[in-house]
């Protein structure tokens, strides 16, 4: 079973501070990490490989330093590493990014594509689903359990208040959430191999036969009007007492703030 995992290098947002004047992220000195959901995607790919054989390829689109993220998943056990890096890709929104990644995935060949649900720096959760559309694949999102049965994949798809079981014929694309598994740690030997033995293939626009109108800024229909940090929410207030008492207090407060108004 050949599996492609799409990963992204992101700033560790647990450390990120926002520049109050410009409303943008202060990236200086913030360590880069492999996007957490993508580690779960990698782990699942490695488990399926251990079960069914085949090979796992990780693809990342990003600047040259994303090389480190690929080597980190290599140290977890990923076989092949591809970095999509080209000035022509710069400025891509999720539409152009998913098209570009899709072209690369197509070139690699696959039975299954696994993406993390979303990246912690953009929070769109759009890449996986859009890539499935570009590739004409069935997709299952928010996956929390995976089972491969012959030529189909059966997944538990998380909902807000439960889950549903969805199956799809392979090849397919799934996006996964952190409940799915516990990512393994890179092994010491894996770290050594990642930097001494493994090769990160760098592919540009020409290598993945992209339509130049569909990549980078040109291929991006999204226009960003403004980015800003939302106003911090005021401190919440906890009501105490029995349910009845709390309900009464709540009604009083809602009236005070004119959310509820007495009619007549």
């Amino acid at each position: 079973m050949d599996i492609v995992v799409c990963i992204k290098q992101v700033p560790d947002t647990t450390d990120v501070k926002i520049d109050q004047k410009t409303g943008t992220l202060i990236r200086e000195g913030v360590p880069s990490i492999v996007n957490p959901d993508d580690k779960h995607a990698t782990e699942e790919a490695l488990r399926l490989k251990e079960q069914f054989g085949g090979k796992v390829t990780a693809i990342s689109m990003g600047p040259p330093q994303a090389d480190d993220a690929l080597r980190e998943v290599s140290a977890m056990g990923v076989d092949e590493l591809i970095l999509l890096s080209d000035r022509a890709f710069a400025g891509a929104d999720t539409w152009a990014t998913s098209y570009t990644l899709g072209q690369a995935v197509q070139k690699v060949g696959y039975d299954l594509v696994i993406c993390g649900r979303e990246a912690i720096d953009g929070d769109t959760a759009q890449i996986g689903p859009q890539m499935a559309e570009h590739l004409g694949l069935p997709q299952i999102t928010y996956v929390r359990k995976v089972e491969v049965q012959g030529d189909k994949i059966v997944c538990e798809r998380a909902l807000e208040d439960g889950y549903e079981i969805v199956e799809a014929k392979l090849p397919a694309l799934i996006t996964v959430i952190s409940d799915l598994n516990k990512p393994r740690y890179p092994s010491v030997r894996g770290i050594v191999d990642a930097y001494r033995e493994k090769e990160v293939k760098v592919w540009g626009a020409a290598d993945v036969s992209c339509d130049e109108n569909c990549i980078g800024l040109t291929g991006s229909p999204t226009e960003v009007k403004k980015t800003f940090a939302p106003e911090p929410k005021g401190e919440g207030e906890l009501l105490e007492g029995t349910v009845d008492e709390m309900a009464r207090q709540l009604v009083v407060k809602l009236k005070e703030t004119n959310v509820l108004r007495q009619v007549g």
Partner: protein, 379 residues
């Protein structure tokens, strides 16, 4: 000159740190309290390759450099010094001498399972009446045909009681003093091998130190390591590397004490402001940060010298002498910053303080390090 770490070394730090924070932190205080050896996490460390970090791949290790090894022990000890010494002893006092002095057969038979973490090792040098004074050993090995019969005992042996394989030292010719010492690789199921009392210690309580007892223990002659009479040389060379490991342990403990102090100085308020606003506290923190940085430079430099095949005896002694002293100061002042709370088990700094003390003692006391250093100055 280049002070930065390589990408490989950086990924090593990131990986160990994540492992230590997620897997060791939740049990560090518990194993200190219960003095239980953490079998499960030591096994996990082995599976990930931390039990043969610098051992070449063909002998079951990861083939990494000495600086990466230093980083691993530092990061493990930053969270749990007990795991730190368990891993350090196994790597530098057991795997290293077999890799350095062993025959191909010995490497195949013993180094492979040790480096892959399948088996645990210990190093038996110290005796009840011969700690630093290695020439006064009373453990004796007598050759009979194709085996040695060994009698005697060892004390304070880290990992003993849990270890499958021990590197031990015995007199093959008492009349020659230190030139009459030989090294043997022994298995814990050799006839006549047993372990004795487990030490009840002040710190590093999640690691195990026990007696080794040899009662007419039979050891095949091919288990002699490095040749008859070469034991003192093997021991001294091995301890040079071991000292880097303990210096890393001290560094990790000091770093932990410093980080706990920074956090406390920001959180704790007195007289209407955080402790960190008081100059007395700022000075503690400034001294800690500076001394830890100096210790780190000495430790990494010793590891670097070993990695590059240069002489590192003096560098290792300086690193251990200085880092263990820094660990004592940093942990003592961390408790001072924490005040009464620091003296309780509600905060980890009292554990750091107890753990730090041993780094001034084992694998050569601070006084021995000064002997080693001054010996090289006055030659």
């Amino acid at each position: 000159m280049e002070f930065g770490l390589s990408k490989e070394q950086e990924l090593m730090r990131k990986t160990v740190r994540e492992f230590a924070e997620k897997e060791l932190e939740p049990i560090a205080a518990d194993i200190d309290e219960s003095a239980e050896f953490p079998d499960e996490t030591v096994k996990k460390l082995g599976e990930l390759g931390f039990m043969g970090i610098t051992v070449p791949k063909e002998h079951g290790g990861a083939g990494m450099d000495e600086v990466s090894y230093a980083i691993a022990i530092e990061e493990i000890s930053r969270i749990c010094a007990s795991h730190g010494v368990t891993v350090s002893v196994h790597n530098s006092l057991v795997c290293w001498p077999i890799d350095k002095f062993g025959t191909e057969e010995q490497k195949e038979k013993y180094l492979k399972p040790l480096a892959s973490g399948e088996k645990l090792g210990c190093f038996g040098l110290t005796e009840p009446n011969a700690g630093t004074d290695a020439g006064a050993h009373t453990t004796v090995a007598v050759k009979e045909g194709d085996k040695y019969i060994i009698n005697g005992s060892k004390v304070f042996i880290t990992n003993a009681g849990k270890a499958d394989i021990a590197i031990i030292f015995a007199m093959t010719d008492k009349s020659k003093g230190t030139r009459g010492i030989s090294t043997f690789i022994v298995e814990n199921d050799f006839p006549g091998f047993s372990t004795g009392m487990v030490e009840n210690k002040m710190g590093i309580r999640g690691s195990i130190q026990s007696e080794l007892v040899f009662d007419n223990m039979e050891v095949p002659a091919e288990n002699l390591l490095g040749g008859e009479g070469k034991g003192f040389k093997v021991a001294m060379a091995t301890l040079d590397g071991g000292r880097i490991g303990i210096a890393c342990q001290a560094l990790g403990i000091a770093q932990a004490a410093y980080e706990a102090s920074i956090q406390y100085a920001k959180e704790r308020e007195q007289f209407g402001k955080p402790l960190g606003k008081f100059q007395a506290i700022q000075w503690f923190l400034a001294d800690m940060a500076t001394e830890i940085e100096a210790a780190r430079l000495l430790v990494y430099k010793a590891a670097f010298a070993k990695w590059k095949g240069k002489s590192y005896t003096v560098e290792a002694a300086m690193a251990k002498l200085f880092a263990s002293d820094v660990a004592m100061k940093a942990t003592r002042n961390a408790i001072q910053i924490h005040g009464g709370y620091g003296y309780t088990k509600d905060y980890p700094v009292e554990r750091f303080y107890r753990d730090a003390k041993i780094t001034e003692i084992y694998e050569g006391t601070s006084e021995v390090q000064k002997m080693v250093i001054s010996g090289s100055l006055l030659r």
